[in-house]
């Protein structure tokens, strides 16, 4: 139990306190250890953790092949890929002029070739798939069910259109006409009277047309309805206010959790 429980907790508390106090203690040896060596150890352990991950992958995929589980044939590709990458990393340099160590970034090596034509395209494509799913979700899932959802979608749409060059071509007057039509829908849903709706929409269209005519139909006036200006205002002010409150809330949460780890109250890293 000492090895499996108490010592890890003591390590977390000891290192956590040392790192935290490192901000406040100016003693050279202590500061040098906390700022330099302790952080180097962190880097080294992170590298070992990646190694552990790779070994685990090998173990799981081999088990799948040996036990002939469903889809075991594809695991051959996973193991093959792992072995190929390790060969490129440790055995076959491909460029005799590159030294071992810098061969992982040097031009002309098998490792670099593998990165350029296998790792990079696959990584990028996996992420690019999300574009299709976001479009599909927009069509099938985003619904204006209540006022909050309306706010969310409206601000999303304004940002999406206002941020791209296309948004600069949409006149403020088009937005005003759109608002008059939306106003008409709202009036109709409240009063359920076609006459009131017609009067509202008619009056709105006339007012907007007269105003536009008198101003000479400028593309970006009135500024509040010009999408690029409007999206910038939304992005810098109400959106930032919301993001700031989320950031402060999360910051307080992270601080609290860090203190819990350092004091040994939170022990999820040992499975408790």
């Amino acid at each position: 139990m000492l090895w499996k429980r108490q010592i890890p907790i003591m390590i977390v508390s000891g290192i956590g306190f040392a790192t935290l106090l490192g901000w406040f203690i100016d003693q050279p040896t202590f500061k040098s250890f906390v700022d330099d060596d302790a952080t180097q150890w962190f880097d080294i352990l992170a590298a070992f953790a990646i190694f552990l991950g790779g070994l685990n992958l090998f173990k799981l995929q081999m088990q799948k092949i040996l036990r002939k589980k469903k889809g075991w044939q594809y695991s051959l590709f996973a193991i093959g890929g792992l072995i190929f990458a390790l060969l490129a990393g440790f055995v076959i340099k491909g460029n005799p002029e590159a030294a071992w160590g810098s061969h992982v970034t040097a031009k002309g090596t098998l490792f670099k070739w593998m990165f350029n034509y296998m790792v990079a395209p696959m990584q990028a494509t996996m992420f690019a798939l999300l574009a299709f799913y976001v479009a599909s979700a927009s069509y099938r899932a985003f619904r204006i069910r209540n006022f909050e959802a309306t706010l969310l979608l409206s601000s999303g749409i304004i940002i999406m259109i206002g941020r791209v060059p296309l948004g600069s071509y949409i006149s403020s007057w088009f937005i005003l006409y759109l608002l008059v039509l939306i106003g008409g829908i709202v009036v109709n849903s409240f009063f359920k009277n076609k006459q009131y709706t017609a009067i509202f929409v008619g009056a709105g269209i006339i007012l907007v047309s007269v105003a536009g005519n008198s101003m000479g139909w400028p593309l970006d006036e009135p500024g509040i309805f010009y999408l690029p200006y409007l999206q910038e205002w939304i992005y810098r002010y109400p959106n930032s206010a919301g993001s700031r409150s989320i950031m402060i809330g999360i910051g307080l949460g992270i601080f609290g959790t860090s203190i819990r780890y350092i004091l040994g109250i939170e022990r999820s890293y040992i499975g408790e």
């Binding site: 010592i7 953790a49 190694f51 296998m118 992420f127 999406m160 950031m247 402060i248």
Partner: protein
């Protein structure tokens, strides 16, 4: 090799995109290859950029190399087995000898040994170190910049200055008020220790509206980001459809469409 690489990159890209049609063997092969190659890539990269230069380079620096030393005798034995990792005469990375780095080496080896089930607990020491280190580092930084810094930046003038009442693109009373009200009401929404009813409920409702605007903006940016990733992939596919790469994109696309179409036709025949 570049042309072979281009064809491989195109095959892997289109194989992953084929998932949009349906799950199929091309996608499964690419997925498993991705997992295996990525693991091998990361293992190799981290070994050569961290473990070899920073750990071994500090335990066996070339500056302190000595034929007669027992410690360097162990190094020479390791060099006999893996000369690229342990070059003759010690590792020349500009480091001094730091025997204290035996600690991260022992913790790292314990992490690797944890792959055996009975020795699973060994990883806890290394994990405990990284958790403690991260907790101590984050606690100060998050509190300083994300909490105190943001609170300080929310204290902005709302009356009694030369600012205009409203400005779409610059500072103004109204904009400052929006930031203040939005941040405070958004934060109040996250206070769950009290029931959100009555006047408090009305205030938190305003907070929700600001948060919804923020989420909507995040949605807009998320769509923007995903489409950008797709643009990147398609630009590469367009490049590889050129004559210098023997129209790789076109041939691979046609071959996949034919094979997947034939398999869909077979499926329909067998089901009918």
């Amino acid at each position: 090799m570049d042309i072979l690489g281009a064809w491989i990159a195109v095959f892997l890209t289109l194989a992953i995109f084929s998932f949009l049609y349906k799950d199929n063997p091309f996608y499964k092969i690419a997925e498993h290859l991705f997992v295996g190659i990525s693991a091998g890539y990361w293992m190799s990269f981290n070994f050569w950029t961290q473990i070899q230069p920073n750990l071994f380079g500090r335990l066996w620096p070339s500056e302190h190399y000595s034929d007669s030393s027992l410690w360097y005798g162990i190094y020479d034995m390791l060099g006999f087995v893996a000369r690229p990792i342990f070059p003759a005469g010690g590792i020349d990375m500009g480091h001094d000898l730091h025997m204290i780095y035996l600690f991260p080496m022992v913790l790292g080896i314990m992490m690797l040994l944890s792959i055996y089930k009975p020795l699973n607990w060994m990883a806890r020491w290394g994990i405990a170190y990284t958790v403690g280190m991260a907790a101590g580092l984050r606690a100060y930084g998050i509190l300083n910049s994300n909490v105190l810094g943001q609170v300080k930046n929310t204290i902005i003038p709302v009356i009694g200055t030369d600012l205009p009442f409203f400005s779409l693109t610059g500072d103004s009373y109204f904009n400052n008020l929006i930031i203040l009200v939005g941040t405070v009401t958004g934060l109040l929404y996250f206070y769950f220790s009290r029931e959100q009813t009555g006047n408090f409920g009305k205030v938190t409702k305003v907070g929700i509206y600001f948060l919804m605007i923020s989420f909507g903006a995040s949605f807009g940016f998320a769509v923007m980001g995903r489409i950008s990733l797709l643009i990147g992939r398609l630009l590469d596919l367009i490049k590889y459809s050129g004559s210098e790469f023997h129209h790789a994109s076109i041939w691979v696309l046609v071959a996949m469409i034919v094979l997947l179409g034939y398999s869909a036709y077979q499926e329909r025949e067998s089901s009918s």
